[in-house]
């Protein structure tokens, strides 16, 4: 059990925003918490799982997690769902109507916006959901505030019977800062579900009378936001420029302009227009510093308040001091100078697939087969789009690969007539939102070859469990989905379901060739664990016998980070053409002994000097 579980009131800790949310949920008496992993929110549930008083789970997707939380709330329990910003899109169908019906037990949705896209496909601003769904938003600026605001959010949620959004960003979730605990857990037993069809069955007839109630609630929040202590003014002696800001941008403003007056918004939706108007009168120029869209700025302009904002500041990315200084200093008539040595021109170091990664085999195959359109998905395997595979052609959203591939098949242009359409998706993404696409494809007689890369983890977010791994959030045994049976149940013919060991390169190349020739949906399922998880067994490393290496470079095409070029030579072929030879070496510290590269080496120059230990590599019999 985690040390924090026993940490007493008034103790001080260095905590990430995500850890602070977990502690706050525990103190607030939360009884149910659910999430699907997603950077930067993943650790919220991992930390909550350490508090035994809270039922917590990995749900299969964000919509499910919010619905689990809604059900718990209706049962009278305080409940929390956490997700990254794009998860809100998935979950929105549920909360957009629950906001109308309202809640019983406090219901808080913690959403983490990946401002700056450290690990996301877009940079959307979750503050719109509060406006869209008539839900209040609290925006913490650091761990201490995350700790305090999550508890306030539960109180507000129950008082006004509304789901409350706590909007975090990467720079709150993953920053460690001081937190002083105010209390310990207060148990809040569930009141029990009170049947009330007119309230909870959202048919048109029942939903319609809720609309005026929702707007009355909005009005109460417009009054509350003017007086609530979460919206506070920080006095400043230099009134030339005043700032309105929220979230971590507040910290950046204070850092950069310590003498400027600041109206710091913690309760940001709806915004306190009267308070802002009064603040505007106290400063020469009012600047809105908001990440990321000009949302508040637009609302203030509509309210007739003269502000500046995105005319000075970038419309995307973090508003760090290094961004604020050059944007604002000219307003003050001050020069902005930085004194440092010039930025050195150093090669990029992009993330890549790991040594022994079970995705290496499939991408080796895909990069060696011509005439494929490869429709990708969200996960580590998105890295297949990069060097050296260049074998992934699209990536947009969770589960999109199968449905997009189906659409590309149906909408084929002339130039694609001879091409095969391939979809690549991982185990967890398939269960999240991909299997509906497969069902749709089968039902509508599509023709796509699906590579279902089952590495038994949610790899990119750090190896979390899912219904395909056989373990739950707590590491306890859980029913494990059988992908072959599932795919067959969705209607793929058994002949077209192929199990393959992704380390068996010739087999996987052969299978992809065979299946892409078929004129019906087929699914190739790999089954090797992610090499960063405990399920992976590390074996003794391989090495290259230099005298035997012919410089063909085949093993380098695998893209394994343990293999690198030892030297290059130019030779002349029998036909008189010049040819570059690339000789390989294997880094013994990085190699994990998976033997994939051995399969690429015709001259048998790759050997394992030490025996592969007593652990035997399991070879799948199905292929």
């Amino acid at each position: 059990m985690h040390a924090l579980v026993h940490a007493a009131a008034e103790s001080r800790h260095l905590l990430s925003g995500n850890e602070a949310v977990a502690r706050a949920a525990w103190e607030a008496g939360v009884r149910v918490a659910a999430a699907y992993p997603g950077t930067p929110a993943t650790e919220i549930l991992e930390y909550i799982a350490r508090y035994p008083d809270i039922y917590s789970e990995w749900s299969v997707n964000e919509k499910v997690s919010v619905e689990v939380a809604i059900g718990a709330s209706l049962a009278g329990s305080r409940a929390l769902a956490a997700m990254k910003h794009v998860g809100m899109n998935v979950a929105s169908d549920a909360f957009m109507t629950q906001s109308l019906a309202g809640v019983i037990g406090g219901l808080v949705i913690v959403v983490a916006d990946d401002v700056g896209l450290s690990s996301s496909q877009n940079e959307q601003d979750s503050r719109y959901w509060g406006r869209f769904g008539h839900m209040p938003i609290l925006e913490p600026a650091d761990s201490q505030e995350a700790y305090e605001m999550v508890q306030r959010a539960f109180d507000l949620s129950e008082e006004y019977e509304v789901p409350v959004i706590v909007r975090m960003t990467t720079r709150v979730c993953h920053v460690k800062a001081m937190v002083t605990f105010a209390g310990e857990r207060v148990e809040r037993p569930a009141a029990g579900f009170q049947k009330n069809p007119r309230r909870w069955v959202m048919t048109p007839a029942n939903a319609k009378p809720r609309l005026p109630l929702m707007h009355e609630r909005d009005q109460k929040f417009r009054e509350l936001t003017e007086t609530i202590d979460l919206n506070l003014t920080v006095a400043g002696s230099d009134r030339r420029v005043g700032f309105i800001t929220s979230g971590p941008a507040f910290m950046h403003v204070r850092e950069t302009f310590p003498n400027a007056p600041v109206l710091k918004l913690g309760f940001t939706c709806p915004p306190p227009l009267d308070k802002i108007r009064a603040f505007a009168g106290q400063v020469d120029t009012l600047v809105v510093v908001e990440e990321t869209e000009p949302l508040l700025e637009t609302e203030l302009r509509a309210a007739g308040i003269k502000v500046r904002g995105k005319d000075l500041l970038p419309r995307f990315g973090e508003l760090a001091p290094s961004v604020l200084r050059p944007a604002i200093k000219p307003l003050l008539g001050e020069l902005y100078e930085v004194s440092h040595c010039p930025q050195a021109d150093v090669f990029p170091r992009p993330p890549t697939l790991c040594a022994s990664c079970p995705h290496l085999g499939p991408y080796f195959a895909l990069s060696h087969i011509r005439n494929l359109n490869i429709i990708g998905d969200i996960g580590c395997y998105t890295l297949g789009a990069s060097h050296p595979w260049n074998a992934l052609d699209t990536c947009i959203s969770m589960g999109a690969s199968l449905s997009m591939a189906h659409g590309m098949d149906k909408g084929r242009g002339e130039s694609d007539e001879k091409k095969s359409i391939v979809a690549v998706i991982g185990d967890s993404t398939f269960l999240h939102m991909g299997m509906q696409g497969l069902l749709n494809m089968v039902y509508n007689r599509g023709n796509v070859t699906v590579l279902l890369l089952d590495n038994r983890s949610v790899g990119m977010t750090g190896g979390q469990e899912n219904p395909g791994t056989g373990l739950d959030l707590h590491g306890l045994p859980a029913p494990r989905v059988d992908f072959a049976k599932l795919v067959e149940a969705l209607g793929v013919r058994p002949e077209r379901i192929r199990m393959v060991d992704p380390y068996q390169l010739p087999t996987i190349v052969k299978l992809v060739r065979e299946e892409t020739k078929m004129e019906e949906p087929s699914v190739i399922i790999t089954d090797r664990p992610c090499s960063l998880t405990d399920r992976f067994e590390r074996l003794n490393p391989y090495t290259v016998i230099d005298e035997k290496c012919t410089g063909c470079g085949n093993c380098i095409d695998l893209g394994c980070p343990a293999i690198s070029v030892s030297r290059r030579e130019t030779t002349t072929t029998k036909s008189g053409k010049s040819k570059e030879l690339v000789f390989a070496r294997i880094d013994a510290n990085t190699c994990t002994g998976c033997h994939m590269c051995v399969e690429t080496c015709a001259p048998e120059a790759i050997i394992q000097p030490a025996p592969p230990s007593d652990r035997v590599i399991r070879i799948h019999p199905h292929a």
Partner: protein, 203 residues
């Protein structure tokens, strides 16, 4: 140091222990009574990407991020990474660099070049550069994983708190969770501390 704030930037590659080193520095600063903030961008760092960890401490810290030209100390776990982040150092700052060279696959494939002499390029900027082979020391001590503690030892005399405070934070952690490794880490810290004094002269 400005406004009593110390800015430490720890950089390297995923898996090298950069984040652990930053955590040790943050905890030690906390034990010394400072307000502390620590942040990193390491979304996909486990997959061979760049990791940079910012540690800021002082009487009151607002932003967790260190701007270009604001770091007091740069701790580079790899030579090219240290060069990449050199512009984050203030002109009076100190760079403590492990001379390890780790070329990523795209360099090995010939798409980019690894700098011929990243340490020399660092020194040529006029910054105070200390460089040594932490891996060799770790190997001598018999455990490659000691690089982290060696690097922390190396910078321990350039911090606004006593080296012993940092050493105690590291060794106490081992005593509590992996007591067998406490003694060897204390030795690694001492070896790093001695090595960290090797200052390069500006060529």
């Amino acid at each position: 140091m400005r406004d009593g704030i110390t800015n430490l930037l720890v950089v390297g590659i995923g898996g090298q222990g950069v984040m652990t080193a930053a955590e040790m520095l943050a905890r030690t600063a906390l034990s010394q009574g400072y307000d502390v903030k620590k942040t990193e961008v390491a979304g996909m760092a486990q997959r061979g990407g760049v990791v940079s960890s910012h540690v800021r401490f002082g009487p009151k810290v607002y932003s967790p991020q260190i701007d270009p030209g604001e770091a007091d100390l740069l701790i580079g776990f790899e030579a090219a990474e240290a060069l990449r982040w050199a512009s984050h150092l203030r002109p009076t700052g100190v760079a403590m660099v492990n001379t390890l060279r780790l070329a990523p696959p795209i360099v090995s494939a010939g798409l980019y070049d690894y700098p011929a002499d990243p340490i020399g390029a660092l020194a040529a900027t006029g910054l105070e550069v200390h460089a040594f082979d932490a891996g060799a020391i770790a190997e001598e001590l018999g455990n490659a994983k000691l690089v982290n503690t060696i690097m922390l030892g190396a910078i321990s005399d350039y911090l606004p708190f006593p080296a012993a405070a940092l050493e105690e934070c590291i060794v106490a952690g081992f005593r509590a969770y992996k007591p067998k490794l406490a003694e060897i880490n204390a030795r690694a810290f001492a070896a790093g501390r001695a090595a960290g004094h090797q200052k390069l002269t500006n060529p």
